[in-house]
Symmetry: C2
Subunit: 337 residues, 2 copies
């Protein structure tokens, strides 16, 4: 092991889609853990749409990454030195330790990963934040009932692909949208979606939704926003639940877009729209992880990963993900497990 820690820092705040020059690869010495701390070697880094938000200094639910700071991100890693009573060398852990090869932590917010349960990378996907986001967003806010129609945008992503499968487990008709024909195949043939469409090649969203959701939409799980979401509000059912999980369409706009006002539809349909953040469910993570692991073990949940190699390739992989280049969970393998 060399003595160098390679890190990706924020070089400049992007306008529109991030560019490679908005990131900087810096080298520093591997930090030394003090009493009560652990040193972690990153194995996998999670790339997620929320990280785009942290690159901007617009007001949001969390502080932005400052220029020169290491990019925020969750990782799975191995404890390679421990001066902390709860961790020992060799433990596999997950936590928000950033885009870097090594990190020191005082253990706060760090959870242990059981490597016998499933491949450890799933702690960043189906058995991690994306899986729990799907679980709480769909079940707690969407409240799907057997026989209802659930429509998921961004359906081939880390969250959307789990949402659709949980909705199938709950006995719903499940329809998804994604931006690539390969993803549409994946949704229907591998994940068991009842129908799906490529929003990049469909010109009339309203007609397509009417065709694929002939009984209307009872639950809309939205990862995307923008023009597709505008249209969904015209095809929701009475007492529909719209779960706002992400609005990736918006994150890279150079200036805000306008859309048709839809609040009158909410009266006509007595419908509900609700945004959420997974962090508000922290006291129920265990419940979600237990259920997700059970479904995974029973073969009821499948997952896909798109994996880049090397911390130096994280910025490119991140930009690709924001443009829809991933199927399932986008990861960076930072070192060999």
């Amino acid at each position: 092991m060399s003595n160098t820690n390679r890190q990706i820092t924020l070089a400049s705040r992007p306008i529109g889609y991030p560019k490679l020059s908005d990131f900087k690869l810096v080298e520093s010495p591997i930090p030394t853990p003090r009493e009560g701390e652990i040193l972690v070697r990153t194995l996998y880094l999670s790339l997620d749409p929320y990280q785009r938000g942290r690159m901007s200094d617009a007001p949001s639910y969390a502080k932005p990454v400052q220029i020169g700071e290491v990019m925020v991100g969750e990782i799975v890693g191995r404890v390679i030195a421990s001066h902390h009573p709860d961790f020992k060398e060799g433990d596999i852990i997950a936590g928000y330790l950033g885009w870097q090869e090594y990190a020191v932590s005082d253990g706060k917010g760090i959870r242990k990963v059981d490597p016998t349960l499933a491949p450890i990378s799933t702690a960043l996907g189906v058995l991690g934040m994306p899986g729990m986001t799907a679980y709480f967003g769909l079940l707690d806010i969407g409240k799907p009932q057997p026989g209802e129609t659930v429509f998921v945008s961004g359906a081939a992503g880390a969250v959307g692909s789990i949402v659709g499968q949980i909705a199938k487990i709950k006995g719903c008709r499940v329809v998804g949208s994604a931006g690539d024909d390969t993803k549409i195949d994946f949704l229907i043939k591998e994940l068991g979606f009842d129908a799906a469409f490529n929003y990049k090649t469909v010109s009339d969203y309203y007609e397509k939704l009417k065709e694929l959701c002939p009984d209307g939409i009872d639950v809309y799980f939205d990862n995307v926003g923008g023009p597709l979401t505008d249209v969904v509000f015209r095809w929701i059912n009475v007492k529909a639940r719209v779960v706002i999980c992400g609005q990736i369409h918006d994150y890279n706009l150079e200036k805000p877009e306008l859309g048709p006002r839809f609040l009158r539809q909410l009266i006509i349909k007595r419908a509900r729209v609700e945004g959420f953040l997974i962090f508000d469910y922290a006291d129920r993570y265990e419940e979600a992880l237990r259920q997700l692991a059970e479904w995974l073990k029973a073969g009821k949940l499948k997952y896909r990963e798109t994996i880049a190699e090397g911390i130096e390739n994280a910025p490119q992989a991140f930009i690709s993900m924001l443009k829809g280049g991933n199927i399932g969970k986008q990861l960076v393998k930072v070192s060999e497990p």
Copy 2:
């Protein structure tokens, strides 16, 4: 009593604000009740924004009024002949009997009004649909907690004025908007709102909301929609509840307007937006009316009425109401009680 029933029918579907020529005054013989029916003489006619929706044939939650049909509306009237076991001559009743001087009914959907409880016109206001709309919308959907800030648009209208007062009863800071300085005085001096502003003379809604709601907005009860509502989403608090009751700004547009997309705000604030219709609460009307009557009797609820005279003046009064000409409940006195 003459033998003529004067009725207001829909002459043409309005484009934008209704014009007098969209209505027609027609005369017909007073109908004769058959076995199981009552004949009602209208005393007061209720004018409400939802009636604008029924003049259009755009899809909505209820069928549109057809050209040549009597305009839809709730009335308070006196039973002047009864062949129905549940009603006797002299009973005061409320029901959706339309814009006309006389109507025959089979009793379905007709409720009796107790004239000893309060002036009978209140059965169309504070002790009727507007009062119950305020009650269920604010308490069931808005769920205001003591110390929270409730902002009400269209605050001087039949619903808004009750919403604000119930929110005060519940221990909230209450702020309202209306379109006239006289209304602002009414809200603050008569109804006890903590603050209010005239949206027609305030140019920067965001700065005004920050000034009058310094702790943000926890519950937004929206009767209006449009540009003001666009801005409110920028000033809601974490876990805010937005109750969509009406969107009168939209009802008379000649073509739909665009507005800034705000769904990302719902994620950041983990906020909920919900539309509702009073009809979904039919099995709880009694609860609401009992509570509203109790508050009214205790002097905790005040109400104001704007009353036009004569069925022939209903169209003009309706157009005036749509443009904000009323304070409190807009009524037409159709005959002397």
